[in-house]
């Protein structure tokens, strides 16, 4: 697996100003995989995504994406290499309408979905294309946040808690979407609190504690490790 890794993170450290949040994250993701980062609040999951994306004010270590070391790059260049993020709390822009939000991230590679295809996948968005982005329901906003990075042509997606605060039926829909993306060849790193949801979509799970990866559990082994997982997550 390690030779085919699309992303390899080694010894990633990160800081917000004075506070040291990542203390050496190590993990890797193979092409076509869906991987989750699990952990308690404040363990450093979101910071890890931001670290990969180059959005932390300061980071050290190694983040190799598709054979390229990106640790010295800024987030704009990293994005141009084919990584797209769907941030925590979705990052929908209030001053843009739905379509403007959709069109915002520039295309960085061929093969992105075009607008018609996106509206086909998410018909709600088409109906409300002229509405202000933040006037949508939470579920619609989440769809919008995922949809807009599908347009860019990036094949590697970072999704930060896409199910947070959403109704079960919508969570299910999102699960379906992720599964579909996987079949279309997308590679996805998912930060999740919702362990059940994670188990339904992911191939492997990394456990993050206090800014470090402390364990990895393959989805196939998950039933055997329920106790351990509960211990990590404090369920």
């Amino acid at each position: 697996m390690s030779d085919g890794a699309l992303l390899r993170v080694e010894g990633l450290q990160g800081w917000y100003g004075e506070s040291h949040v990542l203390h050496g994250i190590d993990f890797e993701v193979a092409r076509g995989e869906v991987v989750t980062l699990l952990g308690r609040n404040g363990a450093g999951k979101t910071s890890t995504l931001l670290g990969i994306m180059g959005m932390l004010p300061r980071r050290e270590g190694s983040v190799v994406f598709d054979g390229t070391e990106t640790i010295a790059m800024n987030s704009r260049r990293i994005a141009r290499h084919g990584i797209a993020i769907c941030p925590e709390e979705r990052g929908i822009f209030a001053s843009l309408n739905v379509e403007e939000n959709l069109m915002l991230p520039p295309r960085i590679a061929g093969g992105g979905l075009d607008l018609d295809r996106i509206y086909e996948l998410f018909p709600n968005l088409k109906e409300r294309r002229r509405s202000q982005g933040t006037k949508l329901s939470g579920g619609e906003q989440q769809m919008l946040a995922i949809a807009r990075i599908l347009r860019t042509g990036a094949k590697f997606l970072l999704l930060d808690e896409p199910t947070e605060g959403l109704a079960p039926v919508i969570v299910k829909h999102i699960g379906g979407t992720i599964a579909k993306l996987k079949t279309e060849g997308f590679t996805i790193v998912l930060v999740e609190q919702n362990f059940r949801f994670a188990a339904s979509v992911a191939d492997r799970h990394y456990i993050v504690q206090e800014g470090q990866v402390v364990d990895m559990i393959a989805n196939a082994d998950i039933d055997a490790n329920t106790e351990k997982l509960h211990g990590y997550l404090g369920v």
């Binding site: 994306m53 993020i85 990052g91 822009f93 001053s95 915002l104 960085i108």
Partner: protein, 295 residues
């Protein structure tokens, strides 16, 4: 025929129109200030000095190169905008991660330098700049004589304000700007060149100041101090409209021009302070400004 507080309606009409003309300058200047503040979070205290520089560049184009008013209307803002870009790249961009205050102080220092240099080389009494011949003369509107040039000022400012509004609210580039105003880190992480947006925005904002300067050159004395006191008035306009609100800056600019104009009729001595009285009232009642989103 009725009279309002002893002022005949014709006179009032005339004064309203004059207020609108002054408001045109406020609108263009405060628009530039608001655009810059919106995206860069910088209170551009050099705005008045750049307005002055715009007028001077127009004068220099005419006197050194023989370039007339119409080309200067494009070239002078361009020159001022490029100067702004240099300032942004070399200095301002180092301050974005800091508090507003530092941007304000830096640009205040820059304003002193720019004004001081022009004062040293061109003296203080001002330089003549003629109204372009196509706009000389005027029309009698019945209630007042409206010089053609003043009419042009209104038209030009409305075109520029509307154009800027359209660009920001209705175009792709404008969507980048609005999004970057809300969350520039995320926009950058989508692969949009935010630093480039910032520098272009500053360049554009300063070019607007330069444009206002060229507009002003034929009617006001072109002198190094012409922007010095204007800056705090224009800044007050931006605050009243709502910091960073494009529409707020434009509408408030015209509106305050008119209010100031009326004050000049009823209480001329007070016309220099009326804007601040309004600013105090607005901030105490509606702190985010008339058109601002609540923070």
């Amino acid at each position: 025929m009725f009279e309002l507080l002893g002022i005949p309606p014709q006179v009032l009409m005339g004064q309203l129109l004059l207020g609108l003309i002054n408001g045109s300058f406020y609108a263009v200047l405060s628009l530039g200030l608001a655009v810059i503040f919106g995206l860069l979070n910088v209170i551009n205290f050099a705005h008045g000095a750049l307005y002055m520089a715009g007028a001077f560049v127009a004068w220099m184009l005419l006197n050194y190169l023989g370039v007339g008013y119409w080309p200067a209307l494009i070239l002078a803002p361009l020159a001022v905008g490029i100067f702004g870009i240099v300032l942004e790249r070399t200095m301002l961009s180092r301050l974005y991660h800091l508090d507003h205050l530092y941007g304000l102080l830096l640009t205040f220092g820059l304003a002193l330098i720019i004004q001081g240099l022009f004062r040293n080389y061109y003296g203080i009494s001002g330089l003549p700049y003629r109204i372009p011949s196509a706009l000389a003369g005027g029309h009698n509107l019945g209630f007042m004589f409206l010089p053609n040039y003043r009419a042009w000022v209104i038209v030009a400012s409305i075109i520029v304000c509307f154009g800027t509004w359209f660009m920001i609210e209705k175009t792709r580039l404008g969507a980048y700007l609005r999004a970057a105003t809300e969350n520039s880190a995320l926009v950058n992480a989508f692969g949009v060149n935010v630093p480039l947006l910032l520098v272009l925005t500053y360049g554009f904002g300063t070019a607007l100041a330069g444009f206002a300067g060229v507009l002003a050159a034929p009617i006001y004395s072109v002198n190094p101090n012409m922007g010095a006191d204007l800056i705090i008035i224009v800044f007050a306009v931006v605050v009243i409209g709502g910091m960073g609100s494009i529409m707020g800056a434009i509408v408030t600019g015209y509106m305050l021009g008119i209010i100031e104009g009326l004050t000049r009729v009823f209480y001329p001595e007070g016309s220099s302070v009326v804007i601040f009285v309004i600013m105090a009232i607005v901030l105490l009642i509606k702190p985010e400004g008339l058109f601002g989103r609540a923070a």
